[in-house]
Amino acid sequence: MALNSSLQQAIDKIVEKTEKEILLDLKNSVSDSKQTLDDSLSKLEQEYDKIILDGKKEADKVEKKIIGSSELDVRNKQLLLLEEGVTKVFSKALDQIANTDRSGDYSNLINTLLDEATKILGTTKVIVFTNTKDKDVVQSALSKFSGSELSSDTIDCLGGILIKSKDGTMTFDNTIDARIERLKPLIRKEIASTFGVGN
């Protein structure tokens, strides 16, 4: 009986000790878990913030890309349309210039062009080229420029003259075509401004 009681006491002691140990372990585990959870929460929050930030950045990037390329597309289409308009105006103006009446002030224009061209070359001993339409007007103007002569060859142009020094080393193009070409960027700007662009 006494043996049984001692055994029972020993067992109780072991059970009690084990229970205490288990309870302590459980307590520790709970507190560890709590700690881990607390740590994870802040990490999670950081991770969450980072994901949100990255997502926002990505969204901004995509937004910029879409808006940027569509704005550019629209602008480029506008530029092409504008250019089409400018070209139409240009070709219409060139047609009108080509069909200008050669009488009246036109001979004054030829005179001015010849004067300007010979001054730039520094000599009046030149060969003058022009188109078929302007041959007569040019021929009559040449009397004022001694040493100059009209070439029998004609050139393809809207009007005006091209002169060459007699030794053939210097040429000056004073045709209307050349003058328009030189001023083309400015004329384009003027035309574009009438469409409400540029100014």
């Binding site: 990037k61 550019l72 080393t169 040429t171 030189r182």
Partner: protein, 461 residues
């Protein structure tokens, strides 16, 4: 622009390399634009380099291949080379001479500007002090770029400077202001694939609408490269000083520009200087780099990032050497880091932004920026020494603090220096990483930062 044209001369005395010598010329002017017409009627552009004794030496931009003495004509246009400028140039792609390359018409010009620009009055210059965010941590954090600065990137052949250039072009922005920002990108003598990469990169990121691209590819005549940076800077100056924008000009690769300069100099039989480059290389480069800056009373600014590849990675080569004299610091790309696969492979110990101190701190970036940057510089420098020591005595021979510095060096390269090519970091993120690195050090090793900042930002692990 005038209605008067120029005289066309047909007496060509000599064709030598990229030069054409025209005889019996009256009234030609230095730098005057010349239209060369071949016997087949093809037109090329050039400019007058020298006049005198009835002769004019003309440098042909598109090269002299196919030209012959008989049949070639030179027309002196009567004006210097001009670039048509307007706000419409934004979003456009041009070739190295400023002609449209995107299939769109010539821009409707607001005005025509001499591509040589006007020298800035030194008295009118304003000291650069406003921060530009590139989104690249190592630049923003340790070698900060400021508006109006010229900060070159020294690289070597085959390294990732073009990736870096494109990333800066895509990401750069001005913070804390509503002012407009634009990027002018000049590719000088780059490969076709690189030019396409720049164009695509800006198009796909949506950054093209605020950019202007000038692309001179390697197959274009070398002489065109003389013009490319000048047309790019002309556009930049217009955007900055006429339209009030903050403009970042990226020019890559300036070495190709200098090679073209050497080619012309050799053809002119000038006395060569170091490595065959002309003696006036310094002066010539300064006419490009000195076009960066800010002017008093004007809203905009021109900031330059010229990129040059150092032949044989030699930093004493005349190009980086002379560039370094003119510019305000340098960013050096390291082949060692590049080989380790680190991007961007910037060697911070050899790099420096001389104007950084004025562009950072309270009101620009953050009050602790300067100190935390100095501390990281110092720590990384120490880490490099420790690595060298470890190479001799082995890791086992290092002290505990040495090992800490080694870790700091590794962390620096892994988390701060390394960055994805599409990763755009804000300055706050950059400073955050700098503090993470500093926090790896024991507090008693932090000697360059005020206690109040340590209390605020130091996070012991």
């Amino acid at each position: 622009m005038t209605v008067e044209g120029g005289v066309q001369y047909s007496k060509i005395a000599e064709i030598k390399g990229p030069l054409v010598v025209v005889d019996d010329v009256d009234n030609a002017a230095f730098d005057e634009l010349v239209e060369i017409e071949t016997s087949e009627g093809e037109k090329r552009l050039g400019k007058v380099l020298e006049v005198g004794n009835g002769k004019a030496i003309v440098q042909v931009f598109e090269g002299t291949t196919g030209l012959s003495i008989s049949g070639t004509k030179a027309k002196f246009v009567g004006k210097v080379m001009e670039m048509p400028v307007s706000k419409e140039v934004l979003g456009r792609v041009f070739d190295g001479l400023g002609r449209p390359k995107d299939g769109l018409p010539d821009p409707i010009a607001d005005k025509f500007v001499d591509i040589n620009g006007e020298p800035m009055n030194p008295e009118q210059r304003e000291y650069p002090k406003d921060f530009i965010q590139t989104g690249i941590s190592v630049i923003d954090g340790l070698m900060t770029l400021v508006r109006g600065q010229k900060l070159p990137i020294f690289s070597g052949s085959g390294m990732s400077h073009n990736l870096l250039a494109a990333q800066i072009a895509r990401q750069a922005s001005v913070v804390g202001t509503q002012d407009d920002f634009a990027v002018v990108f000049a590719a000088i003598g780059v490969q076709y694939s690189e030019a396409e990469y720049f164009r695509r990169s800006l198009e796909e990121s949506g950054a093209l609408k605020r950019s202007v691209l000038f692309l001179n590819t390697a197959d274009n005549p070398a002489i065109e490269r003389i013009i490319t940076p000048r047309v790019a800077l002309t556009v930049a100056e217009y955007l900055a000083f006429d339209l009030g924008m903050h403009v970042l000009v990226i020019m890559t690769d300036m070495t190709n520009y200098c090679e073209a300069l050497r080619e012309i100099s050799a053809a002119r039989e000038e006395v060569p200087g170091r490595k065959g480059y002309p003696g006036y290389l310094y002066t010539d480069l300064s006419t490009i780099y000195e076009r960066a800056g800010k002017l008093q009373g004007r809203k905009g600014s021109v900031t330059q990032i010229p990129i040059l590849s150092m032949p044989s990675d030699d930093i004493t080569h005349p190009i980086p050497d002379l560039t370094g004299y003119i510019t305000e610091g340098q960013i050096v790309i390291s082949r060692d880091l590049f080989r380790q696969g680190i991007y961007p492979p910037i060697n911070i110990l050899m790099s420096l932004s001389r104007l950084m101190k004025d562009g950072i701190g309270e009101g620009s970036t953050r009050e602790d920026h300067s100190e935390v940057a100095n501390q990281v510089y110092d720590a990384y420098s120490r880490a490099q020494e420790v690595r060298a020591l470890a190479g001799i005595v082995g890791k086992a021979g290092l002290t505990e603090i040495d090992l800490k510095y080694m870790d700091v060096g590794d962390l620096f390269e892994k988390e701060f220096l390394s960055q994805a090519i599409d990763e755009n970091r804000t300055i706050e993120e950059t400073l955050g990483i700098l503090w993470k690195i500093v926090s790896k050090l024991p507090k008693n090793e932090i000697t360059k930062i005020k206690d109040k900042y340590i209390e605020q930002y130091y996070k012991e692990e």
